[in-house]
């Protein structure tokens, strides 16, 4: 039976009518047409589906829509301020922190959560904090550089 579930999505009050067991990822992509968040594994093993829930990273593939009721969800589409890119987006662009780019939304969202708790992470902290995200093209070196660069952009 569909339920009515309300939450904040990229700053806007949002209500969906959906089966309460459906994953947030599917609602984002299929009902709300926000396809920036990606499916990679369906079990929280790769991080491609990462979004923020009240500033913390969650795996939207394995989070039911019911669990996000009342929360504030941010996706890759909600990260920039108008035409001004978020420092992480700008840094991933400048430092070419991707090849195919399919992992990028999840990388950026998880990095945003990381920088939310550690604004000046060491390289070791970046590696540890990003270890749940897989990049199959293996752009890891540039992703780390982009995150370091973003911390500088954020201060500027």
């Amino acid at each position: 039976m569909p339920a009515s579930i309300s939450f904040t999505l990229n700053g806007k009050a949002t209500t969906v009518e959906a089966d309460p067991d459906r994953p947030l990822l599917e609602i984002l992509r299929e009902d709300l047409h926000l396809t920036g968040t990606k499916y990679g594994c369906g079990e929280g093993a790769c991080g491609a589906c990462s979004v923020l829930a009240n500033g913390k990273r969650i795996f939207s593939c394995s989070t039911s829509i019911t669990e996000v009721a009342g929360k504030s969800i941010t996706t890759i589409e909600g990260l920039a301020s108008g035409d001004t890119l978020h420092p992480l987006q700008q840094a991933f662009l400048d430092d070419r922190g991707f090849q195919c780019g399919y992992c990028t939304a999840g990388m950026i969202m998880n990095a945003a959560a990381l920088l939310g708790t550690k604004p000046n992470p060491t390289e070791a902290e970046i590696r540890e904090g990003m270890n749940g995200n897989i990049c199959r093209c293996c752009a890891h070196t540039r992703i780390i550089r982009a995150i370091q660069h973003a911390t500088e952009l954020a201060k500027a």
Binding site: A45, A80, C100, G101, N133, C137, H140
Partner: protein
């Protein structure tokens, strides 16, 4: 469309007979997409799909060493709109390797315009010339020259017209787009002798241009194949067999059909569903799984894979060098083994299929758009002219997306649903029903004379293939053979193909021989090499890594250093590696120093990314990755169980790109991968004294 049927999906991996091209599209469709201007001709006119015997296939404008014909006419390669927009067309695909960037650079370079003025359309079978599949590192040596020739021919035409224009009037491409004489002239064939810009004159090629659509990627706007949407579209799923080779003997479709909005497509062994969302589609599949009865044949286990491959190998030949063996000071024999490996692109297979008036359009991720069109034509018994395959820039391939099974499945479900259907494979499906990097059993025998020189070399590769099987070393008597076996899993291309396995075996065995000869592995290689380019990368890697000093110093049981080199597809690679052995015997790669040379460098940033990516990706199969299977099922079909490289193990990588502007550019997507695993293996031996003869390399 008459009597559409779908074949057993497993048959579709076989090559299908082509039906021949007969594109019937109109000028109108081009105008809608590209804007008014220089007319592009129907493919039948351009001849790009049916090159004359003396041209096209041999490479003039050629699309890739026997792959694809490339365009014959200038107007098939590019379109100039009346607003000055230049649209370049290529049948290549972008899966992260940088084709979009480098083709854009090549076109801009020859046309003499900024890269930002180029709009590049890739891999749309209705618009683009057939540049062949995006495989074998062929974009750089085949498609780039073809694009450069086509664009240089257009530039020459432009210059000819400009020189005839009234004095004082500066002509632009936009001016010519509506000039009937120019349009007529652009119908000419790309001249055989067109002169492209010299490397020394490059202004855009040779620079680190960024990927043109990078902005869309970082804001989440780029539409990957799995993001495609059409109005009224449904979401598809496929009922997978209970095990490899299982036959569906009975099924009740009613429980699935009873779910609101669900459509079930049954066609012989194929059962698929479509639903308004993926959740309902999965519910329908679960219902079908509950009623399906399967007859499952027996299937070998990965635990006995090597024995199985050897037992099923055809005619393993005898060593042809009996004389060399008889007179040798030493003879060494070894067997190396590699398992099945996953490509695991982060975006699993996806396809959106739309039937309209008997014509089929499919948006999908494939490295072979015309091959997928052929598969669809074969599966549905319709002419290829009624099928359009479009490949949006997609999320990784690594040799694993050459086929069109997902497109065929989506099209079959869409046919039943009479609506567009988006089918996205799940990770377990991608890990099970895609194809794998082949497993191999490689036997090597070599002999040494009393001076420690190799006198004979004999290799057989069971089950994988020939790439990398020939030794690059100077050996008087050498022979290599690939021997087919009966592969238990569906296998296919992989980044660098069999060169991953054959170089692992050869370069590891070289260290075994060096030890037997009492030589340093670097000196032993040098003594057997007379290939200047391979020597150059070997020397560079050794120098930058300080190999000899570190080899002499690191005699601890925890740290070891190793070296390996290889050449493949016209490029050259050498890697030095330091490994550290943990107390629990796990192996960590601390440092990789790699030298790589692929002729003139077209984009140093993209090249560096390819080399970095190949190395990090290569750590997985070297140390951990192996597809496990039992009773016809993959038993590690998850990123939790099949562990690909992650941030925590990123080693220090220093990469030395040797630029050779005097040499033609070769591809770089594959070769940077192939020296790593043997260098790691040789480092592990150096640290432990234990010779591992299989991938993944494990000590416990």
């Amino acid at each position: 469309m008459s009597n559409p049927t779908i074949k057993n999906i497993r048959e579709l991996e076989e090559p299908l007979e082509t039906l021949g091209y007969d594109f019937g599209f109109t000028r109108r469709s081009f105008v809608q997409i590209l804007g008014a201007g220089l007319l592009i001709f129907a493919a039948a006119e351009t001849g790009f799909s049916q090159p004359a015997p003396e041209e096209g296939r041999r490479g003039r404008g050629g699309g890739g060493g026997g792959f694809g014909g490339g365009p014959v006419k200038i107007s098939a390669r590019l379109h100039i709109a009346t607003d000055g927009t230049i649209t370049v067309l290529s049948g290549k695909v972008e899966g992260g390797q940088g084709a979009r960037t480098e083709i854009t650079q090549a076109a801009a370079e020859e046309l003499g315009v900024p890269a930002s003025q180029i709009n590049l359309i890739l891999a749309d079978t209705e618009l683009c010339p057939d540049d062949g599949p995006t495989v074998g590192s062929r974009t750089t040596p085949s498609t780039i020259p073809s694009v450069r020739q086509g664009c240089a021919a257009a530039k020459k035409l432009f210059d000819d017209f400009a020189s005839q224009s009234p004095a004082g009037k500066k002509l632009t491409y936009a001016d010519l787009a509506s000039d009937a004489n120019f349009i007529e002239a652009a119908k000419q064939n790309i001249p055989r002798n067109v002169i492209v810009s010299a490397v020394s004159e490059w202004k855009i090629l040779g620079t680190p241009l960024a990927r043109p659509n990078a902005h869309d990627v970082v804001v989440g706007k780029h539409k990957y194949p799995s993001d495609q949407v059409l109005p009224g579209m449904l979401y598809g799923k496929v009922l997978r067999p209970a095990s490899f080779g299982a036959t569906l003997t009975d099924i009740d479709l009613a429980p699935a059909k009873a779910i609101d909005g669900v459509i079930v497509a049954r066609d012989g062994q194929f059962v698929g569903v479509a639903a308004p969302n993926s959740f309902l589609a999965q519910r329908a599949i679960t219902a079908l799984e509950g009623t399906a009865q399967w007859d499952s044949p027996s299937h070998p286990s990965s635990k006995t894979l090597s024995d199985y491959l050897r037992k099923n190998a055809r005619n393993i030949p005898a060593n042809p060098f009996a004389d060399a063996i008889a007179s040798a000071a030493k003879k060494l024999t070894a067997t190396y083994e590699v398992p099945y490996v996953q490509h695991a692109p982060l975006e699993p297979r996806a396809a959106l299929a739309d039937w309209k008036d008997g014509k089929l359009t499919v948006w999908t991720a494939t490295q072979n758009p015309t091959g997928v069109r052929r598969e669809l034509a074969g599966a549905f018994h319709i002419a290829e002219s009624n099928i359009r395959v479009i490949v949006p820039d997609f999320g990784g391939g690594f040799g694993g997306k050459h086929t069109g099974e997902c497109a065929v499945e989506a099209a079959r479900i869409a046919q039943a649903a009479q609506k567009p259907v988006l089918l996205r494979w799940t990770r377990p499906e991608e890990f099970t029903w895609a194809y794998f990097r082949a497993a191999a059993v490689i036997d090597l025998t070599a002999t040494l004379d009393e001076n420690g020189a190799i006198t004979s070399w004999f290799t057989t590769d069971i089950n994988y293939g020939t790439p990398g099987i020939e030794s690059p070393y100077n050996i008087a008597s050498k022979h290599s053979e690939f021997i087919e076996s009966k592969p238990p899993l569906r296998h296919g291309s992989y980044r660098a193909l069999a060169a991953t396995a054959n170089n692992f075996a050869r370069e590891s065995f070289m260290d075994e021989l060096a030890l037997a000869a009492g030589k340093n592995p670097l000196e032993f290689r040098r003594a057997h090499l007379n290939n200047d380019r391979l020597l150059a990368v070997l020397n560079e890697a050794a120098k930058q890594f300080d190999f000899s000093a570190r080899r002499a110093k690191s005699d601890s049981k925890k740290i070891g250093v190793g070296i390996a080199c290889a050449t493949e597809k016209g490029s050259y690679v050498a890697a030095c590696v330091e490994v550290e052995i943990a107390a629990d015997q796990t192996i960590r790669v601390n440092h990789i120093c790699q030298a790589f040379e692929c002729g003139a460098i077209m984009n140093p940033s993209n090249l560096e990314a390819q080399v970095q990516g190949a190395l990090m990706q290569g750590i997985g199969p070297a140390l951990r990755e192996a597809t496990a299977f039992e009773n016809g099922k993959i038993t590690n079909a998850s990123f939790f169980d099949y562990e690909v490289p992650r941030f925590a193990e990123l080693p220090m990588m220093d990469i030395h790109l040797l630029n050779r502007p005097d040499l033609p550019s070769a591809g770089a997507g594959e070769t940077p991968l192939i020296a790593l695993a043997p260098a790691i293996n040789n480092a592990v031996f150096h640290a432990t004294g234990k010779r591992v003869r299989q991938m993944p390399i494990r000590l416990s």
